[in-house]
């Protein structure tokens, strides 16, 4: 059985273009606003949706996404509520692949098998758990695969030839190539440095490769879309959310439209990149 993620990448390949993966933190800045953001993403041009599961200590994230995590937590977003959000979205949209991204402790605290079962029934398609390297596959990756959930792994510039097969071993869905050593949203990705890395990885796998970390502008997204199967944009969208909050952290009018406009601009650039 092919998964929604596989179907989407097959369709993108057939169209001869790369996809846009958008990242937002679940419940940022609050749950109702987030659900309006989420609902409009496919129409604005998101091909895959990545949702962050808020965590108090997001070690791989820069200040922008850290702040998004804290805003969501301040609004009482829990893993259970994140799954409810997904379930409601899935009731309205049965085709857009949805990946949950986060850190292991909230999943562990929830009960990892209970989480996996509920994620499947809510309509989650894949998981990215930053602090679970292949060495810890028994924790979550293998039980996720058994349940038909795709497990997306990060490969990085430090993943050398010797290690790459280990990283690729249990990946399903797509491989997420981290364009730079560092945290999200701080440095900028350079397509000319990423290209040879993707060539290297493609010798070992036929999986689609999404590239993220440091892609902020439509121009950068287009440059990545010319060489990768998808471009991931996160911090730039979360920054757009933050820019539309008043001094008390409440959303100002125009927040949802501004984020969707940003997504539209990125999607346009990604779609035009290979023409």
């Amino acid at each position: 059985m092919t998964t929604r993620i596989e179907q989407r990448f097959a369709a993108l390949r057939a169209e001869g273009r790369a996809g846009l993966v958008t990242f937002l933190v679940a419940g940022d800045p609050d749950i109702p606003t987030f659900e309006r953001l989420l609902d409009g993403l496919p129409a604005a041009g998101a091909d895959l949706i990545e949702i962050g599961m808020p965590f108090s200590d997001p070690m791989a994230d820069g200040p922008v996404i850290q702040a998004g995590n804290l805003r969501a937590l301040a609004h009482g977003v829990t893993l259970a509520r994140t799954l409810e959000i997904v379930r409601r979205f899935r009731g309205r949209d049965q085709t857009t692949p949805l990946v949950l991204m986060g850190y292991y402790n909230p999943i562990w605290a929830y009960g990892r098998l209970r989480f996996l079962d509920e994620a499947v029934s809510a309509g989650v398609d894949g998981l990215i758990v930053v602090d679970l390297p292949p060495e810890e596959d028994e924790e979550l990756c293998l039980p996720a695969l058994e349940r038909g959930l795709d497990f997306v792994r990060l490969a990085t510039p430090t993943t050398d030839a010797r290690r790459l097969p280990t990283v690729l071993r249990n990946v399903r869905g797509f491989l997420y190539y981290v364009s730079l050593t560092g945290i999200t949203g701080v440095k900028e990705a350079a397509a000319e440095q990423v290209a040879p890395q993707l060539d290297r990885i493609r010798k070992h796998t036929d999986l689609p490769i999404a590239v993220g970390f440091g892609i902020k502008t439509p121009e950068q997204a287009a440059a990545i879309a010319r060489i990768a199967d998808a471009a991931v944009v996160g911090s730039a969208l979360v920054a757009e959310v933050a820019a539309h909050l008043d001094s008390e952290g409440k959303p100002r009018g125009g927040l949802v439209a501004a984020v969707h406009d940003k997504v539209r601009a990125l999607a346009h650039a990604v779609r035009e990149a290979r023409r």
Binding site: S56, L73, T159, T181, K187
Partner: protein
């Protein structure tokens, strides 16, 4: 290898039973594997050991004395109390033992830039010290709140040539400093060595830091045998991340007659929510690269800890402690801020020693425990740091303006 020894952990996956492991981002994995290989090689190299021992002797000033605290013993009226005086080490705490070990390893691996996190500032000072000694760049991450309460150590680090970077995220204490150090490491992984100060973090750090700190317990064992002709009965040490305690305890793990007592920071009280007692009030969880007891809410969000002692103000604990607690080898108790302050003053007046607020927690637990023990009970408190750095905090709590 003894089949029934408690000293053989961790396994090849870095686990102590359920605890430990390598829960880190992929960017760091190759680096952690490289570190593990380098450490295993160094451990087997007699030249590395000889160099480590030589620096411990001539630079740190080891062995540290095992001192019979006669007046404290008389005052408490029970167990015979010895102090393992690691506060007499160069830089004033046990932290330097581990820093010497790791800096020698960093040099061996060709790393030129050292980063570290610090809470009380003792580990930061020790790291800045060894970086100065070996001519390596040094960046110390320290929570903004800790910077406020540990000004003398911040100045010390700067005098030693380190850059102290204030951390403004989260609770602005040790846990956030560690997050920020991990973010730096992931960004500068090729050039940088992360010198972790406690028996925490991903494998191999908990085992490696323990090995470097075990000199405390090995010395204490030999010294007690020499002074009393037998092993001690009770060892008491404060735990934040747990490195001084593990250093003292580990050589005694297989000596079943020796009670091992870890003292957590009870802050304002164990039932106030304002404490740092990971083992007494936490549940197993994953933070900073390993699974261990962790202060967290129902949703797995990390709870901000509280302690008067910046060095104990950490929501987790080393994984080996968690395992030893679960199997019943380790007893865990706690002392409040108030009890630690009382113990601080007690030791100052009776023995002429200002303990750091961290071991003041161990002394506070001892003050409760010792009177109930017989006079022939031999008890060792790990006096893992000196209190000069804490006089401002103590003064503030006593209502004195300096």
């Amino acid at each position: 290898m003894l089949a029934n020894s408690l000293r053989t952990g961790p396994d090849e996956r870095g686990r102590f039973g359920l605890y430990g492991g390598r829960f880190v981002a992929e960017t760091l994995m190759p680096c952690i594997l490289e570190l593990e290989a380098a450490y295993e090689e160094a451990k087997r190299d007699p030249a590395f050991q000889a160099e480590f021992d030589s620096f411990l002797a001539d630079y740190v000033g080891r062995p540290s004395p095992l001192y019979f605290a006669e007046r404290l013993t008389a005052e408490l009226g029970g167990a015979k109390i010895y102090l393992k005086r690691d506060e007499l080490n160069h830089t004033g705490a046990h932290k330097i033992n581990n820093c010497i070990g790791q800096i020698l390893l960093a040099r061996r691996m060709g790393k030129k830039r050292i980063i570290a996190e610090t809470g009380a500032g003792q580990h930061g000072v020790a790291t800045a010290t060894v970086c100065a000694r070996f001519g390596l760049d040094c960046v110390i991450y320290m929570g903004e709140r800790d910077i406020e309460r540990q000004q003398p150590n911040v100045f010390r680090m700067r005098l030693l040539g380190a850059e102290v970077r204030p951390v403004r995220s989260g609770s602005r204490t040790l846990k956030d400093a560690m997050n920020e150090a991990l973010r730096d490491w992931v960004t500068n992984v090729e050039t940088t060595f992360y010198l972790i100060g406690s028996v925490a973090g991903p494998h191999p750090y908990p085992a490696m830091v323990r090995d470097f700190q075990s000199v405390i317990g090995r010395e204490a064992k030999a010294q007690m045998l020499e002074k009393e002709g037998r092993l001690p009965d009770v060892l008491v040490a404060a735990v934040g991340g747990g490195s001084n305690a593990m250093g003292l305890f580990h050589p005694f793990l297989d000596d079943g007659s020796v009670r091992l007592i870890a003292v957590e920071a009870a802050g304002e009280g164990l039932d106030t929510g304002l404490h740092a007692a990971a083992m007494l009030r936490g549940r197993p969880g994953i933070l900073h690269g390993s699974r261990s007891y962790l202060l967290q809410d129902e949703d797995g969000q990390v709870i901000e800890p509280h302690s008067i002692s910046a060095g104990l103000d950490y929501p987790g604990i080393g994984p080996e402690h968690s395992w030893l607690k679960d199997i019943g080898r380790l007893e865990v108790t706690a002392a409040t801020d108030r009890e630690a302050l009382d113990a601080f003053r007690l030791l100052a007046r009776l023995e002429g020693i200002l303990p750091a607020l961290e071991p003041a927690h161990a002394l506070a637990a001892t003050a409760k425990l010792a009177p109930g023990l017989s006079k022939d009970t031999l008890l060792v408190v790990n006096l893992c740091g000196r209190g000069d750095k804490d006089i401002y905090t103590v003064a503030r709590h006593l209502g004195v303006e300096l």
